[in-house]
């Protein structure tokens, strides 16, 4: 089978862009509903259930409401940047989804269509570049509002996002080393070849990435830029109607992109676990599903139902992370600002650097010993990573990094106490 080319490729790309964009918007809309419903269940409430069956039309009602509401603009605001803020927040959040592969290639009469909007070779670098642009929207919006709370929120947002971008990028280095590439289709392929999702051989990188992703998306427990109880609502205090809605869409599409990215990098993307029939990758212009025992490429046979199945699996994995985001938000309290900075610079950064060294050494040793890239290779790395992860958790848990008020009180009052709760 040949990859699609020429005019058909242009047409298929346009169709993919339209479908992915509307898909992202739809998922974002329904994530807001899921957030409200799940938070309600967690708090023993019911949540929005009036518009349509089970409240399923609520996002549409919200959209109409936000379009019809009055747009207020503060008198002292800088008008250009006040309007530019939400646009700059939303666009980078939407375009990052372009490089995430979401299903196995689809065969059509004109050739095989990759289920990715743009399979650029610099995949993750593109995502890192654009997701860091998101902070411009927040900072511009907060500054242009001419409101001290909005400005404080924007400052916090920029400091936090810059700090955690470092840990985010460094935790990915281990993934780059194991996959040998920064292209996301290649990552999915490497996980299929390893017969092991990167979440296992690179468990500490996974953990660090998840924590950084929470900070990058400004979600609780890192929602410093909003911090309702401290800063009104932070950078979007002065925003109303559709402009507020755009900040909201930006936050949720950031969340969606982060979820899809975690699923792709660490949970095998659209790969179906314990199955090899879905594997597909362009190898020297041919779509293959793997290599035979003698190194001969085995041709893959793409089918529409395989595409559909893999899309479903990808949606499940992404949905798991979306629910996880919501679940964490409604459980954990907000960090204090200095704790956020301390965790970012004094814990995440050194840990990810040390982890890169450990993983690089382990891979070098495995290569020197002559272990082939495969399941055994992955298992050996899993063992090393497990030790690293346990050490990291032990270090965090021992009350050495984030001392609460209770800890300081105990130090000045050395009465022996029995075990905690």
């Amino acid at each position: 089978m040949e990859p699609i080319s020429g005019l058909a490729a242009l047409l298929s790309s346009s169709v993919k862009i339209a479908l992915v964009f509307s898909g992202v918007m739809l998922v974002v809309a329904y994530t807001t509903l899921a957030e409200r419903r799940v938070s309600a269940f967690i708090q023993d409430r019911i949540g929005p259930n009036r518009v349509g069956p089970f409240g399923l039309l609520q996002p549409i009602a919200d959209g109409i409401k936000n379009l019809l509401k009055e747009e207020t603009s503060p008198a002292a605001a800088s008008r250009t940047f006040f309007i530019l803020g939400p646009i700059l927040a939303m666009v980078p959040a939407m375009v990052t989804f372009a490089v995430i592969p979401f299903a196995a290639p689809l065969p059509t009469p004109w050739g095989v269509v990759d289920m990715i909007v743009a399979d650029v070779p610099i995949g993750i670098l593109y995502i890192l570049a654009f997701s860091s642009l998101g902070v411009y929207g927040v900072v511009l919006g907060g500054w242009a509002s001419n409101n001290k709370y909005a400005f404080l929120g924007a400052l916090r947002a920029s400091a936090q996002m810059v700090s955690y971008e470092v840990a985010l990028g460094l935790s990915l280095i281990a993934v780059f080393m194991l996959a040998g590439s920064v292209t996301l289709t290649e990552m999915v392929w490497q996980q299929q070849q390893l017969d092991l999702w990167f979440a296992f051989p690179l468990s500490l990188a996974f953990l660090l990435f998840v924590i950084s992703a929470f900070a990058e998306t400004n979600r609780l427990p890192f929602d410093m830029p909003e911090a309702e109880s401290e800063l009104v609502t932070g950078y979007h205090t002065e925003y109303s109607a559709m402009k507020f809605s755009m900040f909201f869409i930006a936050e949720y599409s950031h969340m969606l992109t982060a979820s899809a990215l975690m699923a792709t990098l660490f949970l095998g993307g659209w790969d179906i676990p314990f199955a090899t029939w879905d594997d597909a990758f362009w190898y020297e212009g041919v779509l293959i599903r793997g290599f035979g025992p003698d190194g001969v490429p085995l041709a893959a046979s793409p089918a529409w139902w395989k595409t559909l199945f893999t899309l479903g699996v990808f949606a499940l994995k992404t949905g798991f992370f979306l629910v996880f985001f919501i679940w964490v938000r409604w459980t954990l309290p907000r960090f204090r600002y200095d704790q956020v900075m301390q965790l970012g610079w004094k814990v995440m950064l050194p840990t990810s650097l040390a982890y890169i060294m450990v993983m690089a050494a382990s891979m070098l040793i495995l290569d020197q010993v002559g272990v082939a890239y495969g399941f055994a290779y992955g298992l050996a790395l899993t063992g090393v990573s497990l030790v690293c992860t346990l050490l990291f958790i032990f270090y965090l848990d021992d009350d050495r990094i984030m001392k609460g008020a209770g800890a300081r009180q105990a130090a000045s009052d050395p009465v022996p106490t029995e075990g905690g709760d």
Binding site: D44, I46, W327, T331, L332, D397, D399, Q409, D421
Partner: protein, 166 residues
């Protein structure tokens, strides 16, 4: 309505483990997420069962021929502590007394139910009903026709099997 008070056993100072606390909290919220034990009452669809002695909106009993049972004796406006009943009595050819004007201001009423207790002919009642929303304040002064139209159950200060209270 199972809302109970739970005593929290806080850990000893200096023995706080943030990770363990986070995992505990996550498991608690997960349990509620998967098994939502809601105490919310879906009001318009689900109605609270009112107590038999609930004292709500008034209601005037009528005879079989549609006349009000009220004999305009003047006891209810006299006993009313909120002074919310306005009664103007009249007399017909046979010498039967009847109310010409009978108005209850539901805003002034404190729903003590004394009008029902004092009524010698069991005409005026407080009822087991509370949904009285209106668009204007004037609509809250119930006149005689309005009181006679009410068809909700009445409060059980009055025993139907013993109407005269003997």
């Amino acid at each position: 309505m199972a809302i109970t008070v739970k005593t929290m056993h806080r850990p000893e100072p200096g023995r706080t483990s943030y990770l363990r606390a986070a995992v505990k909290g996550m498991s608690l919220t997960l349990r509620h997420m998967l098994n939502p034990s809601t105490v919310t009452q879906q009001y318009p669809e689900e109605q609270t069962e009112l107590s038999p002695r609930w004292r709500g909106t008034h209601r005037m009993e009528v005879h079989a021929d549609g006349r009000p049972k009220c004999v305009a004796c003047g006891l209810c406006p006299t006993v009313c502590p909120a002074n919310c009943i306005r009664l103007v009595g009249g007399e017909d050819d046979q010498g039967n007394r009847y109310p010409i004007v009978f108005e209850i201001d539901e805003f002034r009423c404190i729903f003590c139910g004394m009008c029902q207790e004092v009524c010698p002919v069991e005409a005026i009642h407080v009822g087991r009903h509370f949904e009285n929303a209106e668009y204007t304040r004037e609509r809250f002064v119930y006149d005689l026709d309005r009181l006679m139209e009410q068809d909700h159950p009445v409060t059980l200060l009055w025993d139907p099997s013993d109407p005269a209270g003997e």
